[in-house]
């Protein structure tokens, strides 16, 4: 065993000791993962249509559904935001349409996040229906 090997072994031993100390040290802090936002009771919101324009402020249930599908063909961030807001529409069918479109646009995680944040029977029904349409 030559001196070089010995030096390397010493360095390795020191590194191991430092690593063990760091691992076992009481001052070691756990890596804090960002906490998801707390669950909130779902609140209906019909004002999301106004984001598309003032002229869309008061639409019927079916018209809001059509608006969601119309927005589905627009590929921009603003449309995504509108669709996410449409998830809070008091009409479950409209919210389902928004969720469906978001999934089609590849934003299923936003739908899942919304469902998780507002758990309940409504969220369950939307989720189940979405699974049927896959």
């Amino acid at each position: 065993m030559n001196a070089l090997v010995i030096v390397l072994l010493i360095i390795i031993a020191i590194a191991i000791c430092v690593g063990l100390y760091a691992w076992l040290s009481p001052e070691r802090k756990e890596i804090e993962l960002p906490e998801p936002p707390p669950n909130e009771p779902w609140k209906p919101d019909t004002a999301w249509t106004a984001q598309a324009g003032e002229e869309f402020a008061t639409l019927s249930e079916a018209a809001r559904c059509d608006l969601v599908f119309a927005v589905a063909d627009l590929h921009d961030e603003r449309a995504d935001g509108l669709l996410v807001h449409a998830l809070d529409d008091p009409s479950e069918a409209v919210a389902l349409a928004a969720a469906h479109v978001l999934e089609k646009r590849g934003a299923s995680e936003r739908v899942r996040a919304h469902v998780k944040r507002h758990p309940g029977a409504r969220a369950e029904r939307i989720e189940e229906t979405l699974s049927l349409l896959q």
Partner: protein, 1068 residues
């Protein structure tokens, strides 16, 4: 130690005199305006230099620094802000002073303009250094000499009114007297005395004296006008002014131009008395008749009646301050007023009568605050219109150059007047008239008043007996408005004469009085009653057969026992009331009077009582025709009309046409049994006849024909259950004379019965018709038929009958007629079939649907394999579960559910075709149907055409159908595989049709239905039914297709889909 700043401060003692080097010129006395020069020198007596040396002079009261006069060692010191630094509090810095060095300071003062006489001025200088305390010079004291000067231009006296002196003073007004004393000297004046007597023609206004604005009498302790020479100012400083002011009232009255002069004398201890120039004010006075006390009035002002007098009263009061000379009054009367001679008075004294009266009157001179009253009268002339204003103008003139005009007026109250003596109605002609005669009266109208009567209307009080009323003004007929005639305007002192003609109404009651009254109404005069004219009527009643008669209410031919209504109408054609009107009736014996309406019946007479002229009375009579009526004798009613004061009148006889006849048309003939009789049975016939007419039948013959099919039963004929003798072996009914009934009254019934036997040789089904004939009164014949009677017989083949020891042909009776089955009920028209299997849609079971399925598997035969496109859809467990759940969720009713089945079972591969086209249609189908699936969750959502298809989807489907190639798909793995097959040619044909088919119709869905799996029977069945259903809708428009999608029920198809789902689930 005092500093240089502290020295010369007010109230501080002077510095000790350390240096006696201050020299002042002049040395002792000074006068206002004089220049005082001061020189101060000092030497440094010590051995060391004095540093920071400062020099300061004082500035005594009464002296002012002469600018630029400050000098140091003959060199001018710069002044600061108009003052020398030598006079500053810190003094003037002059630098260092070496030992033995001498410095000289010069300064000059000017004596102030006003300095009290005898006052002392002290001058002193001081010097200080850093090392030395202030050292004062010697003090130089100067005495001032000065005196006041009261007699100057500013010392004067003035008198003026509130409006100034130029406007003059008015008698009775006030004026201010102001005495100003100004001291123009250098010193004060002491005990200034002013003598200011109250000017002539004025009087002092108590407590009005003021000295410099403050009350003066308090200091005097007496009234100002009682003190001759008061001291107005104990001390009047130089350049000061004292003002004495008081008010005086100008005497009133006072002659115009009077001058009021104010004088004054002034003196003081230092000044001898002197008089100042007097001031004057001229009085302006004039006569004045402008106030309310000078007036011209008319009495009375209102309701002045024509013919009366009005009084013009003029009062001239001189409210001025001087006498008015040569005052005169001129009157001007209107046209309708005439001055009354001798009525003019001045202050109550009548003026002298003059033949040619002038309306200008001399009132003489009127002193200030004196007045004169003038009175004149005028007579108002008539006629004159009501409300006319009578203006009276007056002019008052006086010297010098005074004039005032007046105008007053009186309003006339003038009215028309219609006196009873000149306004009345006078009858023309005699007082007795007959109806239809003409009456005439004259109306006299005369306006005695002084004003015209406007809107005059003549109102006639017309008696109802008068007709055709006409009013004439001379020969002109006036238009009448109901009972009124518009007369318009009637001028004063004019007359109108009107003629009224009228015709006496006819008829009219005898000895009636006719009155024609009248009144006239005018706006101003009101109602004027004109009285009335009277006539008396001579009149009598009268009746005639033309207007008084009896009439049948219904013009008809009447039958016995019938009630005939007769209308009685009586008209009084006379001109007087008919009393005790009575109508005697003479009725034929075949009738009797049964009822009377509208009159009182007294046996055979009718009492109507009173009938007014022209009046009509009516009554309705009920005449009952008796049964004994004979056709040939009509019923007649004769009448005689009587009344008081009238001759009897025979009215036209009334004839009532009558008729009566028997009638046997209504009767019955029936048999027992009624409808069917077996051969050999006995049949009883009963004939009911009744005289349904209203007349008796003298002779009635009843007969029937003898029939071969029926055999009479002897002695069986009865009439009303009384046996009737047969004629031979026949019934008398069948004989030639029949059964004869006589004197059959109306309503009498007869029942004839007889029995017959059906011939047993008749064939079954033969019909028996029995008819009875009823003839009466020789000319009437009625037939009464009985219902048809069928003969019933039964066939029989055997002739061996149990119980008989022999055979027998020709047996009768129903007992032998067996074997035939009749309908269960005569009313049953159809045979009830066993109930069929219900085909209710909602109750269709799975098994029943399956039974409808095809036995084949849907695959094409081997011959067609070359054209077959096979399809396959592969399902793993998860997809299958999801698909089945999706289908269960997608039950929206109608055909919509099956569109989702097309999505669910859409093949993953089809034949050997291009997968891209298949994938494109799959995606489009899923996108379309997924959105529809979501929308259908909306409540009451109605499918729109855009929800079903668009041009892109259609193009994809066409492409797919054209690209599908026959063959088997390569995909062959999976948990569950659903296979299907379709004909490629059929798909091509559908694709060709799709090119022209409108969007949102059934054809593309029908094409896609061909791609459904068809492996099992259930699948084949469902596929076939779905294709059939969609093919049926292929030619309908989008509206009908959507209606089928959402509203039309498809229970069988739904059930078939259930079977497919169940089967697939089981297979998996």
């Amino acid at each position: 130690m005092r500093t240089l700043t502290d020295v010369f401060a007010p109230g501080t003692p002077t510095l000790p005199e350390g240096l006696r080097t201050l020299v002042v010129s002049p040395e002792r006395e000074l006068e206002p305006g004089m220049t005082v020069r001061a020189t101060f020198t000092f030497r440094n007596q010590g051995g060391a230099p004095a540093t920071g040396v400062r020099v300061r002079f004082n500035l005594p009261e009464g002296l002012v620094y002469l600018v630029g006069s400050g000098k140091l060692d003959e060199e001018a010191l710069d002044d600061e802000q108009g003052s020398s630094p030598l006079l500053a509090r810190a003094g003037a810095q002059i630098g260092d002073v070496a030992p033995g060095e001498e410095r000289r300071i010069d300064i000059a003062y000017s004596v102030a303009g006003a300095i009290e006489n005898g006052s002392t001025v002290e001058l002193q200088a001081a010097v200080a250094a850093f090392e030395l305390a202030p050292v004062g010079s010697n003090v130089v004291r100067l005495v001032a000499h000065s005196r006041p000067a009261l007699e100057n231009a500013l010392t004067n006296v003035a008198i003026e009114t509130r409006h100034g002196a130029s406007g003059g003073a008015a008698p009775g007004g006030e004026a201010n007297v102001t005495v100003r004393v100004h001291n123009a000297g250098e010193s004060s004046a002491h005990d200034v005395v002013v003598v200011a007597p109250i000017p002539e023609h004025t009087s002092y206004v108590p407590n009005s004296a003021r000295v410099n604005g403050r009350e003066f009498e308090r200091e005097l302790l007496a009234s100002f006008d009682r003190v001759h020479a008061p001291i107005v100012a104990p001390s009047l400083p130089a350049s000061a002014t004292v003002t004495l002011q008081y008010r005086v009232r100008v005497d009133d009255p006072l002659a115009d131009g009077t001058s009021i002069v104010a004088r004054a004398q002034i003196a003081s201890q230092e000044t001898a008395a002197f008089a100042i120039d007097a001031a004057s004010l001229t009085v302006r006075a004039q006569a004045d008749f402008e106030d309310d006390r000078t007036s011209v009035t008319v009495e009375p002002e209102y309701d002045v009646t024509p013919g009366s007098h009005i009084v013009v009263r003029a009062v001239a009061f001189n409210a001025g301050t001087t006498t008015a000379e040569s005052v005169s009054l001129t009157l001007e009367f209107p046209d309708h007023v005439m001055p009354v001679r001798g009525s003019f008075r001045i202050d109550g004294q009548p003026l002298r009568e003059r033949k040619k009266e002038s309306l200008t009157f001399d009132l003489g001179a009127i002193g200030a605050r004196e007045g004169v009253e003038f009175v004149a009268e005028g007579a108002v002339l008539s006629p004159i219109a009501d409300g006319t204003s009578l203006p009276v103008r007056a002019k008052l003139t006086w010297a010098p150059e005074g004039e005032r005009n007046f105008e007053c007026s009186a309003v006339v109250r003038s009215q028309p007047r219609f006196s009873a003596r000149h306004n009345r109605i006078v009858r023309v002609g005699g007082s007795s008239v007959q109806p239809s005669d003409e009456c005439e009266a004259t109306i006299l109208l005369s306006n005695d008043g002084s004003a015209p009567a406007t809107d005059a209307r003549l109102h006639l009080l017309l008696d109802p007996a008068l007709d055709e009323v006409r009013v004439f003004d001379k020969t002109v007929r006036l238009q009448m408005d109901r009972d009124e005639v518009d007369l318009g305007k009637i001028d004063p002192y004019t007359s109108r004469r009107l003629t009224v003609r009228a015709r006496v109404r006819t008829p009219y009651a005898n000895r009636s009085d006719i009155r024609l009254g009248g009144s006239m109404h005018a706006r101003e005069a009101g109602e004027v009653v004109l009285g009335e004219a009277n006539w008396r009527v001579e009149s009598h009643p009268a009746f005639s057969a033309e207007t008084s008669q009896l009439q049948l209410v219904q013009d008809d031919v009447f039958r016995p026992n019938q009630l005939v209504e007769v209308h009685v109408r009586l008209r009084n054609e006379g001109t007087d009331i008919a009393n005790n009107v009575r109508l005697r009736l003479y009725v034929s014996p075949e009738a009797r009077l049964e009822s009377v309406e509208g009159a009182t019946r007294e046996r055979s007479a009718l009492l109507f009582g009173e009938v007014r002229p022209g009046g009509t009375v009516e009554a309705k009579l009920g005449i009952r025709l008796l049964r004994s009526l004979a056709k040939a004798y009509p019923v007649t009613i004769e009448t005689v009309l009587t009344a008081d004061a009238m001759l009897p009148v025979q009215l036209t006889r009334l004839t009532i046409v009558t008729t009566a006849e028997p009638n046997f048309s209504v009767g019955t003939l029936h048999s027992e049994p009624a409808d069917v009789a077996d051969a050999g049975d006995e049949v009883e016939f009963v004939l009911h006849v009744r005289n349904g007419g209203d007349g008796p039948a003298r002779r009635v013959k009843i007969s029937v024909d003898s029939l071969d099919e029926l055999i009479y039963v002897p002695n069986s004929t009865t009439v009303n259950e009384l046996p009737v003798r047969d004629i031979g072996a026949q019934s008398p009914l069948t004989s030639e004379q029949g059964i004869m009934l006589s004197d059959v009254d109306p309503g009498v019934e007869a029942a004839i019965a007889w029995r017959e036997v059906v011939h047993n040789g008749l064939a079954s089904g033969e019909t028996l018709v029995r008819t009875a004939r009823v003839s009466y009164d020789g000319e009437r014949l009625d037939e009464i038929a009985a219902p048809e009677l069928k003969v019933r017989c039964s066939p029989v083949f055997a002739n061996a009958i149990a119980g008989l020891p022999f055979g027998l042909d020709g047996m009768l009776g129903p007992a032998f007629a067996g074997g035939q089955r009749a309908l269960p009920d005569v009313n049953d028209r159809f045979v009830q079939l066993p109930p069929a299997m219900p085909v209710a849609r909602g109750e269709t079971s799975v098994t029943s649907v399956l039974s409808l399925g095809s036995s084949g598997n849907g695959h094409a035969g081997d011959d067609d394999e070359a054209h077959v496109v096979e399809t396959v859809a592969v399902f793993d467990r998860d997809r299958l579960d999801r698909t089945l759940k999706f289908l269960s969720e997608a039950r929206f009713g109608g055909l919509t559910s099956h569109m989702f089945a097309l999505r669910a079972f859409y093949p993953d591969e089809a034949g050997s075709s291009n997968e891209a086209a298949l994938e494109e249609v799959r995606d489009a189908l899923r996108e379309t149907l997924d959105r529809l699936f979501i929308k259908l969750r909306l409540p009451n959502y109605v499918i729109a055409p855009r929800d079903l298809e668009n041009a892109g989807t259609r193009a994809g489907i066409v492409t797919l159908l054209n690209s599908l190639q026959p063959g088997q798909p390569a995909l062959s793995s999976g948990a569950t595989m659903l296979r299907g097959a379709c004909d490629a040619g059929e798909l091509r044909a559908l694709a060709a049709r799709l090119e022209d088919a409108p969007l949102a119709t059934a054809l593309p869905w029908a094409a896609l239905a061909r791609l459904m799996p068809s492996e099992s029977d259930a699948e084949v069945n469902y596929r076939r039914m779905l294709i059939t259903s969609l093919d049926d809708l292929a030619n309908v428009d989008e509206t009908a297709f959507i209606d089928a999608l959402q509203r039309r029920p498809y229970p069988v198809l739904d059930a078939a889909l259930n079977v497919v789902c169940a089967q697939i689930s089981t297979r998996a």
